[in-house]
């Protein structure tokens, strides 16, 4: 119990001191996460949309498969990507192992299915409404996908946020492919894991509090952005 109250003290001290190591770690966490989620959205939205409007044999199988990919175990993904990026692996020549880029790759693999599966559901619902209208306009498949993605943008933002949450909280994959190297690939979650393994529970918990607060701030910020964008779109 004492650890909990200590944790809050630690959290506020760290923030108050603006500890430079902590700031670097937070910055890297945000860089990796936002880059990964952006790429995941660029990939996931069109994939989800294509699956939403597609009508072909085996479609339901693909949908179920995509949904189950949401539950990919991060540590397994990390291991697989390590084997690919390792010097002994097929992509070793890229020398990406133990770099933030490797962490982004791992998180893209984890987050894209989430974004795609949720996007598919959102867009499929919208497609039911717009289908006949778009066919009457003689819209091509690509035009249909673009129309749906743009019109569903606010719901898709929520899908992106789900992906963001997963990426920000993830540790299993990034610790294997990143190596948790100080000043290079150490992020919030891997630092928490490290401090826990050192028995520094209050510090680890304090960092955890900061991480949660960060997530709340990001979500609040995006929420406000979305609201003002909605207002501005219609003057």
């Amino acid at each position: 119990m004492q650890d909990f109250s200590q944790a809050f003290v630690q959290a506020f001290t760290l923030i108050g001191q603006a500890d430079p190591t902590l700031i670097d770690i937070i910055a890297l966490s945000l860089q990796v996460t936002f880059t990964a989620v952006s790429i995941a959205c660029l990939l996931g939205f069109p994939i989800g949309a294509a699956l939403a409007i597609g009508r072909f044999p085996g479609r339901m199988v693909l949908v179920v498969f995509l949904n189950s990919l949401m539950g990919l175990p991060p540590v397994v993904v990390g291991l697989v990507i390590y084997l690919f990026l390792s010097a002994a692996g097929p992509l070793g020549f890229l020398q990406l192992l133990y770099t933030p880029t490797a962490m982004v790759i791992a998180q893209v693999v984890l987050v894209t299915p989430i974004v795609a599966a949720l996007a598919r559901q959102v867009i499929e619902d919208l497609y039911g409404e717009y289908d006949e209208m778009l066919r009457a306009m003689n819209a091509s498949r690509i035009q249909t996908i673009c129309t749906l993605i743009v019109d569903a943008r606010y719901s898709l933002l929520t899908s992106a946020l789900a992906g963001l949450g997963r990426a920000l909280a993830e540790v299993g994959a990034v610790i294997i492919v990143g190596g948790n190297i100080a000043n290079v690939t150490r992020v919030m979650t891997t630092t928490i894991a490290l401090e826990t393994s050192k028995g520094e529970l209050a510090l680890a918990l304090g960092l955890g509090i900061i991480l949660v607060a960060l997530s709340i701030l990001i979500n609040a910020g995006l929420f406000l952005l979305k609201n003002s964008a909605q207002k501005r779109a219609y003057a």
Binding site: E129, Y130, E132, M133, R135, A136, M137, N138, A139, Q143, T147, V150, D151, A233, Y234, A235
Partner: protein, 253 residues
């Protein structure tokens, strides 16, 4: 009210539609599973001008429109445009009974339609403006399309259907739920389009609308064409017995 020159520039079909007339249904069967809608439906729409399709509910009028527009394919038989089986989808504009608009502003809805139709980027804004002017909706340019009144939304879908300069305009009971003022605005635009050379096919329940707009009327009942007549003749003296009863206000069972 009729501004001929600017209207022509805006509404005249991009390509003359006479090349695709007459439209012929030959032995069209349409069924959904076990449910048979049409068996052996034959009709021909030849002349330019405005053709009205009338008939009691459930007669399949909306389905005829969808077959015309290529949104539905017949189970058997064929829909031909001047002997060709290819439906000129890119030259057909549609107005449905209930307006479906994008979750964007009025202007963006038109811009979207213009983009989908392949209109060059620098032309789109001008065309959208002209259309809004035609519809008397400039003051609503930036308003969210979904927040408009029923009549305004329907007017917008009509403007949208005309955005790509179609040769054929198909309307499915366009003013069914609208007040007289809104109806008048819609009819005005339809007439202007027709005068610029757009072929119009409209399904309507409203005898008054038929008399105001139509050149000819096709009367459909129970999956069969019962009459094709010039509009004023049909409304005064329909050839078919069922049509007479329908116009007199009877329920055709």
């Amino acid at each position: 009210m009729l501004k001929m020159n600017s209207d022509l520039a805006l509404l005249a079909p991009a390509k003359p539609f006479s090349a695709h007339l007459p439209i012929q249904f030959e032995g069209v069967h349409l069924s959904f599973g076990k449910h048979l809608i049409f068996s052996n439906l034959n009709l021909e729409i030849g002349a330019q001008g405005i053709t009205a399709i009338m008939g009691p509910n459930g007669a399949g009028k909306s389905l005829i429109l969808r077959l015309l527009g290529g949104l539905l394919a017949p189970t058997q038989g064929s829909v031909r445009f001047n002997q060709s089986n290819r439906i000129p989808r890119d030259q057909i504009g549609f107005v449905f009974q209930r307006p479906v608009l994008l979750r964007r502003s009025v202007q963006d809805n038109l811009l979207h339609a213009l983009a989908v139709a392949g209109v060059a980027r620098n032309e789109r804004a001008l065309r959208a403006d002209a259309l809004l002017d035609l519809g008397g909706m400039q003051h609503l340019t930036k308003s969210p399309a979904r927040k408009l009144s029923g009549g305004e939304q329907q007017r917008l879908t009509l403007l949208r259907a005309l955005a790509a300069k179609p040769g054929l305009l198909i309307l499915d009971e366009p003013s069914a739920s609208l007040d007289p003022q809104a109806t008048a605005l819609i009819e005005n635009i339809v007439l202007r389009a027709s005068q610029c050379g757009v072929k119009v096919i409209v399904v309507t329940h409203d005898q008054g609308q038929a008399s105001r707009l139509a050149d000819e009327v096709i009367f459909v009942h129970k999956g069969r064409v019962h009459a094709i007549q010039a509009a004023h003749e049909f409304l005064k003296n329909p050839v078919s017995r069922e049509a007479k009863a329908y116009l007199a206000g009877e329920l055709l069972i």
